[in-house]
Each structure stands twice: as C-alpha cells, then as structure tokens.
Symmetry: C2
Subunit: 132 residues, 2 copies
C-alpha cells in the first residue's frame, strides 16, 4: 500500500474536507451508498468507470475516516455491506449541494471542460461509453 511522505495541510475547514473527500470517486461512492447501493458489486455497477481495485481502496479510506462502516456476512459466496455512519450522513446535504450546482450548470460546464480537447487527436477515448 502507498504510504504518504508529506504531512497533510490542516489549516482550515477546506483543508480538512479535502483530506477525506479528495478522491476521484469518493463523493459518488458516498452518494450511491446513501441511495441504497451497499455492496461493492452494486457500487461498481453504478460507477462502471472506476476499477474494482480503486473502488476497494477508496472504500477502505472512507472506512478509516469513519464515514462508512463495513459489515461482513460469513456466508459463501461472500457478502459485504457498506453503510454510512452518522458522521457520514452529515455529508449528504453537502454532496447534494455540490451535485446540484453541477446539474444546474451542466451545459456550460461541459462546454468549458471540453474546449480543451477540441482538435486534439492524441486523446484516448474510454473503451465503453456511459450514457446515464
């Protein structure tokens, strides 16, 4: 496992939030768990762009940061269930605010993000295209 070499910056609230939410898929993982997708395989279906390996890693970090709990059922084939902690649940309105802003400004955001990629033939497109 990767071990950090530099102590994080913890000077203000935004720093602290960054430490627990700065991960490409974390907001969506929390969001989908809150929507009832508790098992890793369910989460992977909701977020097909994340590899299973990284999903596991980010779930473990969320657990270490006490935002989710991990419950193992001793059955076969294995079953694992993630749930938001009380602490994690306090994040839902925050994530909602963020996602809402993204939805409201969807068109403009797409435009400014994609202009960087116009006429760039070196881009590797994703193997499977999502259409949700």
């Amino acid at each position: 496992m990767y071990e950090r070499k530099i102590l994080p910056y913890l000077n203000c609230g935004l720093d602290l939030v960054g430490e627990v939410l700065y991960g490409k898929w974390k907001l969506r993982i929390l969001w989908f768990i809150n929507e009832g997708n508790k098992r890793p395989s369910e989460l992977q279906r909701q977020i097909p762009d994340v590899s299973r390996r990284v999903l596991n890693i980010q779930l473990k970090e969320l657990e270490e940061h006490e935002l989710v709990t991990r419950k193992i059922y001793p059955i076969m084939p294995p079953k694992v269930e993630y749930n938001l902690t009380d602490f994690g649940r306090t994040l839902i309105p925050v994530i909602n605010t963020i996602g809402l802003w993204g939805d409201q400004h969807q068109e403009r955001l797409k435009q400014v993000i994609l202009k960087e990629f116009r006429d760039n033939p070196a881009i590797i497109d994703h193997p499977e295209v999502q259409t949700s």
Copy 2:
C-alpha cells in the same frame, strides 16, 4: 505544459464539478478571491502552502473554465487582478457549505486524518508551520 491523455468522465453533475474544482488549492483560491484578495501575491500570502508555480497554473485553469477573469494593468512593476465571473460567483455558496461542514467537524476530522500518521517516523514535516 502537461497535456491530458484520457478524456474526462462527464456522466453526472458530480463529474462535471470535479473537472473544474479538483485541484488541491482551487476552492481556497476562489474563496480568497471572493474575499478581496485579487492579486497573485495577496493570494500567495493567504495560502502560503501553495508554491507560486502551482498557484499560477491553477489560476490559469480557473480562468480557462471561466470562473475567474484576469486583468492586467500595464504598469511597472506588473499588477494583475483576478476577479470572479458571474459564473464563478455562483460557486461561493457551494464552497461555503463545504467549508462550514469542515469547520463544524473540525476536531473529529483532525482526529481521523491524523491517526494514520501516528508512530510514523518517515513523515517529512513542512518547513514552515502554519498556525491560523
């Protein structure tokens, strides 16, 4: 300059937000510009942990994403002023929500973040310690 090789994921509002706000200092840069710290040197004083180089790069990205404008005064020594666009201003309530959550859960966050670093002598501490 670094050129991306992989097309970004733009499946939902959270993806879009990530594309423009995913940068270690971006939220704080926007926040401090909104508070009136418009010049790069002022921003650097507000956020001493960011190197001047990276501050420049993230400011340029924010400008490309139309969240800030850059105004150059043709005087010497040079003077440059960044301002939020109308679009950028719509982000302030979002950033406020995020920062507020961080402030409210400050103690708990510090505790869960730092437990990973206990008894790890390999950590390189920052040269100058901030105490804000």
